[in-house]
């Protein structure tokens, strides 16, 4: 007997699968937070430019750089790190909705590092606000120090959170008992950190180009500022190498999903890579090499592409972890590998204390059981009729095919976890899917499962075992 399995109430989000909900919040958060980080670095750079030419009336670039720093851009940074902070809290709450055990495990393992990140974030907030409020009245050295502190604190925030997030995908030596630092400095820590830093700089550069276009300067003076801001996007050139490094350290099975094993994930990789290449190509060839002017419309278009790349990239990062939320430790069903073995015997829902919402909708006890199995094992990634709908995914399968595919789930799709229930659970889920596919008729005669069918399902469950398909520990 292991420790009791913690059961949490499960919420459904209608036709939206939970991955879309957390993805939506996560993408907004990552986009804003990375922009705030790059924005800090860029403000520091422009402030240095402004101070280099201080006192020289002929140095229009220095004056314009100062106008830029004290103008719109710092307001944008302020906006993004405020909303970035709040969407960070929203990420916590949303993760609880989607996988409470996952966020609990992350907290248990890394709470002191998370608290460390919080200290850096506090410094970022204080330095940022201090500059926002007092910057125009401060002498040059104080302005520079404040912006420098803000930029360092913002990047350190990324440093700490990156270690925790990358651990989910590549726990590395932590999985062999290596401790918190082995988990933090895991195989994907450095490529991920450097990649995100490059993204942050690029985003800041694109937003700066947009903002500079709104400044009341003649075109030639705006062009000078734009060329300076565009230099910040130069790290986009090394992003392909960083992406290759990231792919190289991925577990083999995760890499295979991304590179053709799962068409949906491969398409997201394609979108992220394509959008990044378009941005990189324009920045390197158009702005840096040929010194073209970038107008507001183009800057906005590149930003939209960057948002698309961020969105696709985050889906790739989430998808690559499948079938785990913490590789080798916790499946997307919020169960550990050991618990799967226990539930194969005990049943998926025997100990679940929560009743079904709207239980009266289901005309037979078997369908009630099926709905509970769906809630416990499928609901994290699937809906019944909406996004990634089970009814549609299985509609054309025969009954026996459906039984086989559910029982041998990790072989049906390599990125699915092993089925964490017994033969009766498989059959109840099969009957539920058929009933839903038939339009959920109100009257269905109660029936006892055929013992021969149950025996066949049990044989399939025994054959496939409880190990994941991808070779994870």
């Amino acid at each position: 007997m292991g420790a009791p399995i913690p059961y949490y109430p499960v919420n459904e989000f209608g036709p939206l699968m939970k991955g879309l909900v957390i993805g939506g919040v996560g993408i907004l958060h990552v986009f804003l937070a990375q922009f705030a980080i790059g924005g800090g670095m860029l403000l520091y750079h422009f402030e240095r430019v402004a101070q280099r030419g201080a006192g020289d009336e002929a140095d229009t670039e220095a004056r314009d750089a100062r106008t830029f720093v004290d103008g719109y851009f710092k307001v944008l940074v302020l906006v993004s790190f405020v909303v970035g902070a709040l969407t960070g809290v929203a990420m916590w709450f949303t993760t609880i909705q989607v996988g409470a055990r996952t966020i609990g495990l992350m907290l248990d393992e890394f709470h002191w590092l998370w608290a460390t990140e919080w200290v850096w974030f506090s410094i970022e907030i204080v330095a940022g606000y201090a500059f926002y409020r007092f910057g125009p009245r401060l002498p040059g050295p104080a302005r520079l120090r404040l912006l420098g502190l803000y930029a360092i604190a913002a990047w350190m925030s990324l440093f700490w959170i990156n270690g925790i997030l990358s651990w989910q995908l590549t726990p590395g030596r932590w999985a062999e008992g290596g401790g918190v630092w082995a988990g933090f400095f895991n195989p994907s820590f450095w490529p991920s950190l450097l990649f995100r830093t490059a993204v942050a700089a690029t985003l800041a550069s694109l937003v700066a180009c947009l903002v500079i276009n709104t400044m009341e300067l003649d075109r030639a003076r705006r062009a000078v500022l734009i060329r300076r801001a565009a230099r910040f996007a130069a790290p986009v050139a090394v992003m392909p190498l960083l992406a290759l490094w990231f792919f190289a350290v991925l577990p083999e099975d995760s890499r295979s999903w991304l590179l053709g094993g799962s068409m949906a994930m491969t398409m997201f990789v394609g979108v992220a890579a394509g959008a990044s290449l378009l941005i990189g190509g324009y920045v390197i060839v158009g702005i840096l090499a040929r010194r073209l002017y970038i107008n507001a419309a183009t800057a906005m278009l590149l930003l939209v592409l960057a948002f698309g790349a961020t969105a696709a990239g985050e889906f790739v990062r989430e998808g690559a972890r499948k079938p785990f939320t913490v590789r080798g430790v916790l499946y997307s069903t919020s169960l550990t590998p050991a618990e799967v073995g226990r539930l194969r015997v005990r049943g998926a829902t025997t100990d679940d204390p929560y009743p079904l919402r709207g239980e009266a909708r289901y005309p037979t006890p078997e369908l009630v059981r099926g709905a509970k199995v769906h809630r416990a094992l499928c609901d994290a990634c699937h809906t019944m009729h909406g996004a990634n709908a089970l009814v549609e995914l299985t509609r054309t399968w025969t009954d026996d095919q459906l039984r086989l595919n559910v029982a041998k789930l990790q072989r049906t799709k390599g990125f699915m976890p092993p089925f964490a229930g017994n033969a009766e659970d498989v059959e109840a889920l099969v009957q539920l899917l058929r009933w839903e596919a038939a339009g959920a008729p109100a009257a269905v005669p109660a029936r006892a499962p055929d013992p021969a069918v149950l025996a066949q399902i049990q044989r399939w469950l025994d054959e496939v075992g409880t190990s994941p398909a991808g070779g994870a520990p």
Binding site: P6, Y8, P9, N11, V82, V83, A85, L86, G88, V89, A90, W92, F93, T94, I96, Q97, A100, I103, G104, L105, L107, D108, E109, F110, H111, W112, L113, W114, A115, T116, W118, V119, W120, F121, S122, I123, I125, V126, A127, Y129, A130, R133, F134, R137, L138, P139, A142, R145, L146, L149, G179, V180, W181, P353, Y354, P355, L356, R357, G358, E359
Partner: protein
């Protein structure tokens, strides 16, 4: 060690109480400051105090939110199962605190920047509603965490409102306490007779908090025996706070404000322990992974560095203030 800071979870609990108190101080300033500025806007009063408050509200909300992340972290270590279950039971209604805070944030900026009185009123009134929604949500979540027998029924019913009779008196107690916390901060930015209205707000707040506490006691809420020392400290500190506010009323530029600061801090910290006391019986046994997690020295070193950095920022901006 002093009760309740004993056992394996002592460090988490101590840090939780500390950062919760810090969060509460900022929240008090934001909620009551917004209410004060709103009332003055409705009265069309030319009030420099309200202007100063409006000016500082966005920053103070930023501090409140940032300080609020830390207790969330320790809460998840101390009461993980209960906290997550209450989150899930309240579902999207609980999640709505985030958009409410974003809306409140920008409402405060609008109130700060708006030159038209009607916009200012709208922004302050809207912001206040957002913050009251968050206060109500937090109070419900706190009580629902404790009420395990209600979980199954609430889930089955699919309702997102936990209409417990304890919500209203706790809100009354907190609103009163928030007024006292607001005043303890705001008084430092006022001089002379301008401190008198602040003192009046504090005294009124303490009266409201006493009514809330009495209401809770009448409903059977009581601090466990082990918490009586902290309760007595909270009562004594509150009594000193009342005396110090009266002193501030009589001699606004005397040392009353300093006494208020010390006594309010003592009342807040001991009150935070008393608030926690009934929940301590529900404390979860620390999970081995959490107990063994490394990184505490790095956190402590960063904490010292962070304090120094923030002090350095204060020094940098002193010339401009």
């Amino acid at each position: 060690m002093i009760w309740p800071f004993t056992g394996d979870a002592a460090v988490w609990l101590a840090l939780y109480v500390l950062v919760f108190a810090l969060h509460a101080a900022f929240v008090g300033y934001v909620v009551i400051g917004t209410a004060y500025a709103f009332v003055q806007a409705l009265r069309r009063a030319e009030d420099p105090t309200a202007e100063r408050i409006r000016d500082r509200l966005p920053f103070m909300l930023g501090c409140a939110i940032t300080a609020g992340v830390a207790p969330l972290l320790f809460l998840q270590l101390l009461y993980q199962r209960r906290f997550y279950t209450a989150n899930l039971l309240l579902g999207p209604r609980w999640g709505a605190v985030v958009p409410a805070l974003i809306a409140g944030f920008y409402a405060l900026y609008l109130a700060k920047a708006a030159s038209r009185l009607s916009w200012r009123r709208l922004a302050l009134g809207g912001g206040l509603l957002c913050f009251l929604f968050v206060a109500w949500s937090w109070t419900e979540l706190h009580l629902l965490m404790r009420d395990e027998p209600a979980w199954r029924e609430l889930y089955a019913a699919g309702t997102r409102i936990y209409a417990d009779a304890g919500v209203a008196p706790r809100l009354v107690l907190w609103l009163g306490a928030m007024a006292a916390l607001f005043a303890a901060i705001a008084v430092w930015w006022e001089r002379g007779a301008a401190r008198r209205p602040i003192a009046a707000i504090a005294l009124a707040g303490l009266a409201v908090a006493t009514i809330g506490a009495g209401w809770l006691a009448a409903r059977g809420a009581a601090a466990p025996d082990a918490a009586h020392g902290w309760l007595h400290l909270a009562i004594a500190a509150t009594a000193v706070t009342i005396g110090a506010w009266i002193w501030t009323w009589l001699r606004p530029d005397g040392a009353g404000a300093s006494v208020v600061a010390g006594a309010t801090a003592a009342a807040l910290l001991s009150g935070a322990v008393v608030r926690e006391a009934p929940r301590l019986a529900l404390l979860e046994a620390p999970r081995p992974a959490a107990l063994e997690a490394g990184g505490l020295p790095v956190f402590l070193a960063t904490l010292v560095l962070g304090a120094l950095a923030i002090a350095y920022v204060a020094r940098l901006i002193r010339a401009a203030r």
